[in-house]
Every structure is written in C-alpha cells, then in structure tokens.
Amino acid sequence: MTAVDPVTVEARLRDIQSITDAALSRLDDRELLAELLDRIREILQVDTAAVLLLDFSSGQLIATAAAGLEEEVRQGVRIPVGRGFAGRIAAEHRPVILDRVDHTTVLNPILWAKGIQSMMGVPMVAGGKVIGVLHVGSLARRQFTGYDTELLQLTADRAAVAVQSMAAQADRVASAALQRSLVPSALPAVAGVEMAARYVPGRGGVGGDWYDVFTLPTGELCVVIGDVAGSGLAAAVIMGRMRSALRAYALETLDPGEVLARLDRKMQHFEPSALATVLYAVIDAAADQMHVCLAGHFPPVIALPGRPAELVRATPGLMIGVVGGVKRPVTAVTIPPGALLCFYTDGLLERPGELIDDGLTRLCQVVSTQPPEAACAAVMGALIGSEPARDDVALLMIWRQAWPDPPGNIAGADGA
C-alpha cells in the first residue's frame, strides 16, 4: 500500500468529523437525517442523496428523505426488496456501486430520467437487521472508491440510529393518542348505576388493554374489558378494530356469547395472528341482572353488602383468535341493590415473584361495596401502589346504587 499524504489524512479526518459531529445530536431526528444527507453530498461531491426505509409489512423500501432528489420522496417511490438498485442492497445486505444507470439496473425511473450516471448505496442496519438503504448519485460519470463507500456507510450507521429513534417516538406518540381516543374518559350516565375507571400504561408504554362501556337503544348497559397480546401501535390498532366490531355486534344481538363468537370469527379471518382475552357483559336496563361471557379473560369480582367480595363463578371460555367454532358459555349473575362489580386486566394482578391467585385474593380483600371512584382508588392503591406497573392496567367499577335516584336526577338517563 502506498503512503497516504498528510494533506489527505487531514481531509479524511475532517470528512469523518463532519459525519460524526457531536453538534448534530442537538438536532431532532428528522433534521439530523436532512443534515446528514446534505453533508454527505458535499463531502462526496455528489448530486443526490436519498434514504429509503424498509416497510416490514409490505417488504418494500419507501423513499423517506432526499437531497437533490426530493421528488423521490414527494412521489412516494416504493422499491420491492430484491429488485432494482436499492432493493438489491437491502436483500444482499452490502454496498453496491453502479457505473450504468438505466432501466436494466435501476427500477426507479426518476433516477435515470434525471441523468444520473453513477450511483453508490449502502444498507442501513440496526440490531443486525436492514432497516433501509442510503444511496448517492452523480450526474457526471465517476469511480467511487473504497474510501467513499466507508464514509457513506458511516453516514448510514448514524442515520440508522436517528431513524430508529424516530420510529420508536412515532410509535409511542401514535399508540398513546390512539389509546386515549379508544378508552372512554367519560362513562355513560345510566339511572341507578355509578361507574368509574382507570387506565395506566405499563413501564414499556401503552399496551393492549382496553375497556368500553355503552348503552343499547333498548336500555341495556354493555361492558367490555380486554387485553390484546403485544404492545405499542400494533396492539393499539388491533384493539381499536376489536372495539368497533364489538360495538357493531352488540347492536345486532343481546346474547354475549353470540357477540364474542362473531368477534372471534371476524378476528380469525381478518387478523389471524392476533390473540386477545375479552370479557363482554350485558346488564339489564333495570341493572338487576348481568349476562357475562368470558373469552379467556379473568372473571369479574362482585361485592355484595355485608359480605366479602368474591370472584363471579363464570364458566371460562377460549381466548379470541385461537380456533373457530368453540362454545361461548354465558353466565347469568344477579346484581342486588348496593352490589359493586369490578372488571380488570391481569396487569393489576402481577407482581414479581407472586402467584396470580395471591393477586386475586388481594383484589377480593380490597373490593367492597362503596361508590366506584373510591373503590377504584382503593384497588389501585392496594395493588399497584407507587411502583410503575410492569404491564398496563385497566380497571372498571360498576356500582348498582343501594337506593334508586329520584326521577329526573340523572341527566341523559334513559327511563330505567
């Protein structure tokens, strides 16, 4: 190898510093990506630079950021992995240099129409997986060197970190927003009944727990609580679909077993990889009886005046999303005046090193016949305390008042 002259060494050091510049960290991720593209364009003296990110669900690379090639992003260019220039880089997991840019080597017509003569691209890797491709192009024909490739790879590595952080942030924000929109903050007003609820995300952020309470045109009160396997945006999206489907089926039939059977059939067909536990209950308009169906979910706790709270003896049924055509047993539960019903997800029960049954016992000890807000506070205080829960927690209390309200006391109540 020939000796590298000091001027070159100094220039190279400057190039590397420009890419690894600590000041870049002060930019937000999107700005950082744009700045990296500008800098690499300047250092390598190329005309275009672009980032395409892998969309895991479709297996396509999607143009996400570009310099000198903005139309690629604006037109939403998509390249299947394994095809064309960028697709080859992602599939082969290694740099590719092109000395000829035309329809035989490059899939995206924008690139050849622009008159790009030479291209070089490298994979963006995070956690050992390709997450995208960074490529540069020159309008003049040129020979990219090994040093050029190394610099571009260095840029891609830094860009990959920014992209990962951007994706995680977007996922967190979107799932939290979706969760907020799905979990009702205001519960319906129903004569003779009081309700209160809590939702607390776990340490890992928003998970797949949700609850829903709504009335039917015929006056019944419907209660849903569930837990979708998974977390983040993917779980929140499935949760949203299950919630809408349940509301639609609730309008079609009063039989909770039939509602859950329809939900299961819908999920198995449209979301075959989803798995969830769901409790669905229909409380009569007079609020004196509940029909409950469990799809792999924990039974509610019931507290009656003057008696210790206990688990409702409801027949278990299979989780949603396992196998079709199973029986969905429905249990009828009498709700005397003053009774409190407590619906919850397993996040409430789990404590490291403790058995589920211990959690259930503690829950039954703390639930008592009292107004639901106080009951929620007591349960959260006793079972969650000040430690952030590992998993998310949903809790819903429904209290049948001991004495009926005088007529006209509750706004919006439908004559029960």
Binding site: G230, L318, V326, L355, D391
Partner: protein
C-alpha cells in the same frame, strides 16, 4: 442464537424448550425465537416444559398459540408440561387447556400416546 433464558434440549429426538419462572412482554420474544428454532428441527413434535413457570401473560400465551397453530399447519404438535397450579390456572381461565395438549410431567409429554 439460542436464548439462555429458553434453553432447548433434544430428548429422545424431540426438542424440549424449558421456560423460566416468568414469561411476559420482556422475554416473550425469546420464547418465540426458541419455539421457531425448535420447530425447525423437523421432528414434527415439540415440547414446552413449563414446570418452572409461575407466571405467563398474554405475550407469552401468544408465542405458544402461534407455535401451536404453526405446528398444526405443518402436521406436527406442540405439547405443554404444566405442573404448577399457577400456570394451570392461567390455562384454565384462557381456555387454552382444552386446545393445546398438556401433561403434568415431561415423561408423559414425551410418551407416544396423544392426549387432548
């Protein structure tokens, strides 16, 4: 790469995945990977030994149900070893005890007779 939390052992030609005390969202990915790897052994049958496990949340159940469905589609079978009351309780509540064949000991799970 095998996950130290989910060791896989081949017993009489059948892959046996042993699960830790707790399976939740933080390690369910490891279980999923261990199950996929074991299924790739191609013997058709796969045993998940849950005798040490005391807690399993929906993320853990998801990994087991996916492996069960995959095995059925490939003409194979996933068998579980459940000896503790806590896991038995979770499988009863979720109804999975009627769906995924389960046994109280590893010897039984490795036996030839299929119990459903």
């Amino acid at each position: 790469m095998p996950d130290a939390m989910f060791p896989v052992e081949i017993v009489s030609g059948v892959p046996v995945v042993a699960t830790p005390e707790e399976i939740d969202i933080t390690n369910a990915g490891g279980l999923r990977a261990a199950l996929l790897e074991s299924a790739a052994h191609g013997s058709g049958r796969l045993v998940v030994d849950m005798s040490r496990t005391r807690f399993c949340d929906t993320a853990g159940l998801h990994a087991l149900v996916s492996a069960h469905k995959r095995a059925l589609a490939d003409g194979g079978e996933v068998r579980l070893v459940i000896s503790g009351a806590a896991v038995q309780r979770i499988f009863t509540i979720t109804g999975l005890n009627h769906v995924i064949p389960n046994f109280t000991s590893l010897q039984e799970a490795l036996g030839q007779t299929s119990v459903s």
